[in-house]
């Protein structure tokens, strides 16, 4: 028996990256629950930080990690298609407010994206980073689908979206108080548009109506941007 040899065989297995991803994500879920759902301890954040540290500190290269974990990225396609089901189920709640909802998404979404892209451009961001900023108001799953087509860097887009979601969820309650935004539908839409998935968990904490509209805004912005950005910027 050779323990070192056996250990190396497991470490070099093509399943290692996949296993580490599943394990770190489960740990992330656990940390998130233990922390009473602090936005900056989002499961994706915790999982990605752990995996980055492993790639940095060990001889597991990013290329070898990705060749193993890629199967998860490939499953994003059918998972996005599955979003049609909650969208259909949430449709009832939007019927009453469909016009304010669409206006908030189209006008508010345009403002928040243009401010971010414009500010980064003025501050001297390089063109591939500025292109990545265009995806800031869509959930990562959608952004990863359109990033290559618009000259954005997928990993930079994913990082921008993660941090926008976290800061948005942290800043939103105070901004709502400061600016007199009290209607549950308005709070939900704003969180969904500006802070997508992390914002939607925050919206669910504020109330079920906020949660439903945040989830709807996230899907609506995702569809809107996925259909328009590749045409406008491609």
């Amino acid at each position: 028996m050779n323990i070192q040899h056996a250990w190396l065989a497991a470490w070099n297995s093509p399943y290692l990256g996949l296993f580490l991803t599943l394990l770190s994500f489960q740990l992330g879920l656990w940390v998130f629950r233990k922390s009473q759902q602090k936005p900056w301890l989002h499961p994706v954040m915790v999982s990605v930080v752990m995996l980055c540290l492993i790639v940095w500190l060990t001889d597991l290269s990013f290329e070898r990690y990705m060749s193993s974990a890629k199967v998860l990225s490939d499953l994003l396609g059918p998972v996005i298609v599955a979003l049609a089901i909650p969208l259909y189920e949430n449709l009832r709640s939007v019927r009453r407010y469909w016009l304010p909802f669409v206006l908030a998404n189209v006008l508010g979404g345009t403002v928040t994206i243009l401010v971010a892209v414009g500010a980064l451009w003025l501050l001297g961001g390089s063109s591939d980073v500025v292109q990545s900023m265009w995806t800031k108001s869509i959930t990562t799953a959608f952004a990863l689908q359109i990033a290559p087509g618009i000259g954005a860097i997928p990993a930079i887009a994913a990082a921008i979206i993660m941090f926008t979601g976290i800061f948005g969820a942290i800043m939103a309650p105070a901004l709502f108080r400061l600016c007199g935004i009290t209607a549950p539908m308005a709070q939900g839409a704003s969180l969904g548009i500006c802070a997508h998935a992390v914002g939607t968990s925050k919206a669910l904490e504020l109330g079920s109506e906020q949660g439903a509209f945040a989830a709807l805004s996230m899907s609506f912005m995702g569809i809107l941007c996925a259909l328009t950005l590749p045409v406008l910027l491609g």
Partner: protein, 117 residues
């Protein structure tokens, strides 16, 4: 479960087919989602099998974005140079965007519902 997965992959391929047919540069997955959504609206029901697959997959949506996000390890230099301005642009956009989205929604609710929130 299997039936639901066949439907999801079927609509994904249909979306890619439609995007290629009309030479639209949009992701096939998003078109597939819209086509499935349209089908559900027309039929006005979700089959239990499709519902089971969706309920099984969607809670793990964040897991599927993890590998691509780890790609950030390849951009440490870029973040050292531009991380601060990215952060600044992000915060400015949130400080303006969150109130604007809320105001637009509230203004529209008031105008359309005659003053009552």
């Amino acid at each position: 479960m299997l039936y639901g997965l066949i439907v999801l992959f079927g609509y994904l391929l249909l979306g890619e087919f439609v995007a290629a047919l009309f030479a639209w540069p949009v992701p096939g997955s998003v078109l597939g989602m819209l086509l499935l959504f349209a089908t559900l609206v027309v039929r006005d029901r979700v089959s239990p099998e499709l519902n089971a697959s969706s309920k099984g997959l969607l809670p793990y949506l964040p897991l599927f974005i993890v590998p691509a996000s780890v790609g950030i390890v390849n951009y440490v230099d870029l973040l050292e140079q531009q991380g601060l301005i990215i952060l600044l642009a992000m915060l400015v956009s949130l400080a303006i965007g969150i109130p604007v989205c809320g105001w637009v929604a509230q203004w529209a609710i008031k105008r359309i519902k005659g003053g009552s929130l």
